[in-house]
Symmetry: C2
Subunit: 343 residues, 2 copies
DNA sequence: TCCAGTGGTGCTAACGTTAGCACAGGGATG
DNA sequence: CATCCCTGTGCTAACGTTAGCACCACTGGA
């Protein structure tokens, strides 16, 4: 690899001069700058960021730590983040945890060693204590999920309210046997969503046992299929289902298609999240829409500002976005008929 | 930040001893190792990769340079790559080009400065000459798209054959007014796919003008919608459409749903790529399936092997995967009726 | 003529880590 | 008792870059 020294030797000047010429230092004459740049370009010189970092410069890398990039939530966030950061000269490091705290820890070890400038993380249910320790040493922002032992910088959704609304919609239509399928209550988001579901039942005057629950790994499409199969079995199958995870929603849709369950005739469904395919599915999926793009942009802007203003303004910051119910054709009163398809 | 020196001072040993203890050097006594590790852990020591790299160690970062992570092709690849690399201790850098050669160049400058160990790239149509220069200095692998001025390491799809098959399927059904919508012919993949379309027409004995074409930005869902609108206008609208891009496919599906075009009654459609939503769409989308996951795994394994075996075995390497036509309900003879929906 | 000022450049150290060499102490061998 | 080897540790330099200070050759004013 070509270094400033190689250039210096070729031009018969000192390394300092080369370095200064390349960083456009006003003390260097225009003529020298020109010669240095010319030579650098010809020789294919590319500065060494590692060396620069050793001199105290901070890294220009921000890490995004998420369960799975294939989830459209996270790919949207990665995209928005990347777009906003590119303009500021930052690079994006992608770390997938697969919701495994040990993988999460290994990633954070690597990221710390790389001295990333910042981290945006969707933490696992119970991060390892070393993960917590490591995160304390770097500006970070929690996304969607919030873990109390981590900092109080958080971008999230009002999970309780979103699920309450979605469930209330079904209760209002007259459903009395409902089910909720979502992530484990270990996850704060999981707990909140379940709480929202139950709140709506209570407010609708329904008994405790009106709501069945299926909790499990929230990033597993397969688990969604299996859980759906369980819910459909037996004589007291629910007439309405509310979902609390986008991947589970996918699994449920696949299973319902395969088993040719009539939606909303036999079962009303409210999905979680919104993807292009959701509007095409069956009668069109009524779903809990989240302002992911706005949240992603918000995250990016927060982090960029945080990284550019030196003082450790790590004061608590919380931004809660509301979800919004997107009404399509997958919900109706129990035993009701499906509205006509939208296409 | 805590350094080996801090640990050394606290324990009253030398920096070398600390360094060696941490890297489990056999020359250090077990007792010393224990004390050092203890102190390191207590003090929250995290090695500095930049410093390590200065000593000649290669970086453990691999970059993935793609147009847009929201495309399920690329997110699948990112996922597989990430999964395979995590096991080997590599980190993944994500760079989105948005199919803009200047953005691509900026990213490659950064990546070079970071001394990434390897690059997997889906190049833009006409990469900047500096981009080409930079890529020459790092092990890289082209994915899907192949640019002649870059190396000959390439993982791709037999685009010609895939499109030929898809088109032949429609020609066999009796269509005589067909259309192809895909990326610009500047892209080698774009050119190949168009050529496949035309080959099938020729082999089917159809005249040159039996095939209309709509070429444009392949990563733009919006362009897909607009192009679809153009194709539907006029008296000689095609009765069959073949797609050459996943994003364009998405746009087309949205537009067809909105305009309530009867598929396959009024128009037969063969999509490109396969996503969960495609099987739910209308009558189920017949589409060109690609073995993305296998390709992604192949890429990851190739790169890992390439990075671990020192000798510059940069011999030409090419892997061509076949596409496969996934038959669903969106194709039928012209004027034919749609089969019943699958769910 | 001398001095201050200035424009342009060079020298050196430092960032944190590691590899090569040196060296001290102790036991085994001749 | 001298020599040798072995174990465990320390010293030093080097990686590429940059910041601080030093320096030299001028120019212009006293």
């Amino acid at each position: 690899m070509i270094t400033t020294r190689d250039i210096a030797e070729r031009l018969g000047v000192s390394v300092s001069t080369v370095g200064r010429a390349l960083s456009d230092d006003p003390r260097i004459s225009e003529e020298t700058k020109f010669r240095v740049r010319q030579a650098a370009s010809e020789m294919g010189y590319v500065g060494n960021r590692a060396a620069r970092m050793m001199r105290g410069a901070s890294s220009n890398v921000v890490a995004l730590v998420i369960p799975d990039i294939r989830n459209s939530f996270y790919s949207t966030i990665a995209h928005e983040l990347s777009k906003n950061m590119e303009a500021e000269g930052f690079q994006l490091m992608l770390s997938e945890t697969d919701d495994d705290r040990m993988v999460e820890l290994r990633h954070l070890r690597e990221l710390s060693a790389t001295r990333v400038a910042g981290v945006i993380i969707v933490p696992t249910a119970r991060p390892h204590s070393d993960t917590v320790k490591l995160l304390r040493t770097v500006p970070h922002l929690q996304l969607l999920r919030r873990h109390p032992s981590l900092g109080s910088q958080w971008f999230g959704v009002d999970d309780h309210e979103a699920l309450r609304q979605a469930t209330a919609h079904l209760v209002t239509q007259g459903h009395t046997r409902l089910a909720y399928m979502g992530g484990p209550t270990e996850l704060p988001t999981g707990a909140e969503r379940l709480r929202g579901f139950r709140s709506a039942l209570r407010e609708g005057g329904l008994p405790e046992d009106a709501g069945r629950t299926e909790l499990g790994p929230p990033s597993s499409v397969d688990h969604g299929r299996q859980a759906m199969r369980r819910l459909l079995k037996g004589p007291d199958a629910p007439t309405a289902l509310v979902l609390g995870s986008i991947q589970l929603t996918r699994g449920v849709l696949e299973e319902l298609s395969e088993q040719r369950v009539k939606v909303p005739g036999e079962l009303s469904v409210v999905g979680f999240g919104d993807e292009p395919g959701f509007s095409w599915w069956g009668p069109g999926l009524t779903t809990i829409g989240l302002p992911i793009q706005e949240m992603a942009t918000g995250c990016a802007l927060w982090l960029m500002r945080r990284l550019k203003t030196e003082p450790g303004n790590d004061g608590p910051y919380t931004s809660v976005s509301p979800g919004s119910l997107v009404l399509r054709g997958s919900t109706a009163p129990p035993g009701g008929r499906a509205p006509s398809r939208s296409h």
